[in-house]
Every structure is written in structure tokens, then in C-alpha cells.
Amino acid sequence: MSIWEYANPVKFMRTSGAVLPWVVAAAAVCTVAGLVWGFLTPQDYKQGSTVKIIFLHVPAALMAINIWLMMLVTSLIWLVRRHHVSALAAKAAAPVGAVMTLIALITGAIWGQPMWGTWWEWDPRLTSFLILFLFYLGYMALWGAVENPDSAADLTGVLCLVGSVFALLSRYAVNFWNQGLHQGASLSMAPGERMSAVYRYPLYLTMAGFFLLFLALLLVRTRTEIRRRRLAALLARENRA
């Protein structure tokens, strides 16, 4: 059984409908358990209780990037193989990615406040996420602006491609731009330092929870898009008849 079978909207609706309750349940369990567990961990001797923010910040940041990558892949699948479900999945994923990016930005800024003394700092990582947020906004705006659904899918697909190249390029440019300042001010722990198990396992759990949450939202939102398209097609046919 090939994954391409799910490109068929009917099959996608049937399968996603069957799978959805399980995904939602798993997402709820992992996310809630992970966040509660993380909230109850002891304080870090360096960062105090702010280290608890890591259980929100890291999963959100990871999802922000992975969702964009997923949009890139599904956009390519649409551009090459013209599977409508793929294009709609990309459209559906974008707002979730934007929210994840926003959470990463806000938690990053709040986490940095005690350390930097300000609510915002042009730290390379935060700045890159701000740029990513702008790309998400532009992508969503373009979907909304073009009337013809296939044209919208094509244009946003190309935009996703170009945006991905420039998001990567911006990452390096921003590192270059900020290299002279605040060398030690980045948020995560030093790369060599192995996170202690006390933090590591709740973190894995919340990462899984956020991924499952995205999956659940993606399935529901794609189903919404498919239904909307079906309704639009029916209306168009009636208007022509």
C-alpha cells in the first residue's frame, strides 16, 4: 500500500477520520503529562525556575522549523505530482507553524528577560525565528489573496521554495550580523553539556506531545480544507448549470 493512495481525497478523509481520535488522545496525554511533569521539575541552579520554560520553548521551536519543512515537501509534491490533498495540507499546516513560531518567540523573549534585562534582544536564534514568522505570514497572506485555488496552490508552492532558500540564507546572514555581540547570550545550554535526566525525559515527552498536537491539528485542518473545496466545487457547478 503506497502513501500515494492518500492523495485521493476520499481515501484521505476516511483514513484520517479513523485515525484522528487516537492522535488526539495521544497528543493530549503526552502534552499535558509532559508539561505538568516539566513544571514540577526542580530548579536549575543557574537559571532558577525559568528553566521550566524549556518545555515550551524547545518543542515549539522544533515544530516551527519542522512544519515549514513539511510545507516545503508537500509544496514540492503538489508542484510535481499535482495531488490536491498535498497542497491543502501545506495550506492547513501554515497557521499551526505560525503559532508555534510565535510561542517560540514569546517564550524565548520571556526566558531571556531575566538574563538580558530587556524583553527583546536581537539574539541570532530569536531573530531567525522572527524572520521565519514573517515567511509564515507572507505564505498565509498569499493563500488568502489569490482567488483561483490551483493558482493559489502554485504560487504559494513557489513562494515556499524561494522562502526556504532565503530562510536558510538569512540564518547565516543573521549569525554573521550578530557575531560580535552577546556571544554568551544564547538561550540553550552549552552544546557539550548533557542535559540531566531530570529535564531530559519531560522534554522528550513534551516534544512528542507537540508533534502529536500538530498532527491532530493538521489532519483536522486538512479535512476542513477538503470540505471547503468540495463545497466550492459544488457551488461552481451549480452556477454554471
Binding site: G48, S49, I53, V99, I110, L217, R221
Partner: protein, 47 residues
Amino acid sequence: MTELGKYAGTVLAAYGASLVLLVGIVVQTVLANARARRELQEHERRG
């Protein structure tokens, strides 16, 4: 409850903002889906 110490405000602000956003996108997703399903069903019933 675990002690939050002097960073209580910070941690709670971060968790609060994140939860608002997460709940927000979940609610919007569910409502939009319900609406799309309802409109499609109404149209198929009428047509």
C-alpha cells in the same frame, strides 16, 4: 506545588501566553472544521 522562587512571574507568563495560543489554535481549528462540515451537509441536503 513546586516552588517557583523569584522567577514565578516569568515562568507563569511564558506558560500562560503559550497556553492561550495553543488553546486558541485548537479552538479555531475545531470551530472551522465544524462549520465546514455543517455547510457541506446543508448543501448536500438541499441539492
